[in-house]
Symmetry: C2
Subunit: 477 residues, 2 copies
Amino acid sequence: MSEEDAESDEHGTSGTFDEHGSRTDGGRDDLEAVVAAVRERIEPDAEERDRLRTVADRLIERAETAATERCPDADVMQVGSTARDTWISGDRDIDIFVRFPPELDRETLERYGLEVGHETLPEGHEEYAEHPYVKGTVEGFDIDVVPCFRLESATEIRSAVDRTPFHTSYLQARLDDELTADVRLAKQFLKGIGAYGSDLRTRGFSGYLTELLVVEYGGFRGLLEAAAEWQPPVELDPEDHGQETFDDPLVVIDPTDPERNVAAVCAAENVARLQHYARRFLDTPRTEVFEPDDPGSLDETALHAHLERRGTTPVAVRFEAPDLVEDQLYPQLRKSLEGITTGLDDRGFDVFRATTFADDAAVIVAELAVADRPAVERHDGPPIHVRSHADGFYEAYADDPDAYGPFIDGDRYVTERPREFTTARGFLESDRLFDVGLGAHVETALTEEYEVLVGDEIAALCEAFGRELARYFEPRP
Amino acid sequence: MSEEDAESDEHGTSGTFDEHGSRTDGGRDDLEAVVAAVRERIEPDAEERDRLRTVADRLIERAETAATERCPDADVMQVGSTARDTWISGDRDIDIFVRFPPELDRETLERYGLEVGHETLPEGHEEYAEHPYVKGTVEGFDIDVVPCFRLESATEIRSAVDRTPFHTSYLQARLDDELTADVRLAKQFLKGIGAYGSDLRTRGFSGYLTELLVVEYGGFRGLLEAAAEWQPPVELDPEDHGQETFDDPLVVIDPTDPERNVAAVCAAENVARLQHYARRFLDTPRTEVFEPDDPGSLDETALHAHLERRGTTPVAVRFEAPDLVEDQLYPQLRKSLEGITTGLDDRGFDVFRATTFADDAAVIVAELAVADRPAVERHDGPPIHVRSHADGFYEAYADDPDAYGPFIDGDRYVTERPREFTTARGFLESDRLFDVGLGAHVETALTEEYEVLVGDEIAALCEAFGRELARYFEPRP
């Protein structure tokens, strides 16, 4: 469960189109026909809705009983896409928020919240987001029971979860049947292009953001037509109440909170991705774009062929993934990737492209254009006219048998000294790796143990990370 | 003969100190003792002076006769260091200027000048600086007979040679015996450190500049003490009449021409070199510094050892030296070196250090830190929101079987395409070599024929350029 919306972390998990036959035509259906086919596929049918409604109603009733027993002024609210009917066939998330009056102290709220959660979901377990909450499975549905404060306005919130009920109320008032159907299309489109989800691995469009955009642009097609022509930074403020400025490519001021950019997490790449696919889809509508692309797994033969064709030298640092949720792990992996890339570049091992991924193991991969350096490096000294520095520099190297020079280049002394690392492996296997900016948990994990793979040795990653390697070596928008 | 002073192109040709024994003490003589020993060595003795005087007087008389026969108002003047007694034992240049009245037209001046030259030097041959002139050898002395206009002021000059008599007059009025002896020391010092000569190979201190500096700072020691503390740009204006500003590290306004920087040719490196050696000499006076350093010739074994130790990959372009005087050749070689270095760097072949030299063959050498590149190169496309460019870029590469991508990085499309050159040799042997900035005559020479040497192949340069390679691989200030 993210702070944005419960479905934000389930990117790419919807079923395939294969059994529907709409992929196999491969033709250039016109947009309406394509949209109709996709709607058919993603709209939950009556039976699926009934099953969900039945389970949700039963749990809400249970939660209400448990909550009002403890605090007569409490109430219960279903939130998220299943509350707003913007869920996609196959989604199985039911989010139940238990709202307590703001007079309650936080400790009591948390205690009541867990008690209500356990009474509602006797098989459930506790998790922790902003408050602790209870999560469980009932008849195949994933249920969260989350306590929050019931406030007058979203600007008074004490934690991010308090905001969620405002979002649901705001959207429920604006989504008619047609817009609701278009929200489903927009979500499925974003899933298909890999830009759906405000989790920190994806850094894409949250469910709430998608719904706001569909409302703002009057539908799915309106959103695509607008996105195709976006000139970031794009700034939307549905309630016209924003005052702060944001340094993000997409800014959507939260209608329930003027100080918040709903799209703060959305990376420039995902904004660009939506633009790219919106243009292509409006030009040539296809059902395929609504389905997440599965690149298949890159096998060793294909990997070797890529390395041969590219003439680069990949290096990989592999270690045990720190025991963190993805929203904590991926920022740390990205920070470590940035640090290691900079560390390599600074030492002359030019990084051509780089990536990071994890499951049980975590891997940072840098593809090098230059993997070897000469044994010497140039060391520019001070200008000779800055006498105090110049004399010190000259004295330091004049009798150094390992240094060439000092000699004069322009107005400076220069020496050529032995280079610390002549291979990328040498650097990556040294303690200097710990001088670069690493995520804290990544640093701890590396202190334990890590392995450096160079060149063809990265074939060892194919088994666990064949899909990630395929995405890397066969990149698409 | 340069425009500055006749001795400017004879850098490093004075004899050695070996026969004087002053080198073998190796001790830290105090400054006065060292200076005395050097003076002893470089001061022409009575016999040497007499020989020169006798020859000079005879030739001047001949020139006067020949000149006044043609133009009664002409006169003859000896200029340069042998006229000012600032010559160093072993120097053999006698410069005789034949001055004609400014009313004479240039054509007639040139005709008279050559006629006088040939009558003065019956064995002489014609050369061309600003005017044609006659050069010859008499009793071991190198004689120039140069025509010029006799003007009221150096600001009226029509060509650079017209200025020379003013320089001689200016200095003759200011050089007493002590300063004259110190000029000799300063010149020998600059020769010893390789910074003497305003020719465009050396780009150092001309004779005239050296004499002005000694006068300005009151002697050899004064010059060294000042130079040790110089904070370039250093600006001297002995007559306090300069108005223009110059963008040179050393500016000495010509006392005879307020618009001219006498040190315009002097490179930052040679200013720095004088500072470096002035400090060392004042700290530890040694006679050795007055003698040009002979690095010996680098043989193949030593070359291989350096390449092994450095781990770099030298590449050399060897071609027949264009038939030009050094003052024309070296600027062209440097321009070509700059162009080729940039061409290599631009293609990812990182140039570590580079040099150029010539005798019959000319060579441009670039020592590479990176001699090989991968088979692909990154090609950043336009930002995706610039739709017209972005669409064109995407269409161009979407179906290109040789390109990876397009994919999205940040807000841009990126492709990875085959790289034009994966080796420095490939670039240097291609026509693209002619796209870089080359000196015009170098370009012509390369069009004829050239050879590319890579790595150990540069051992082929040891025979002709062993000294230059020794200077390169054993660099000193």
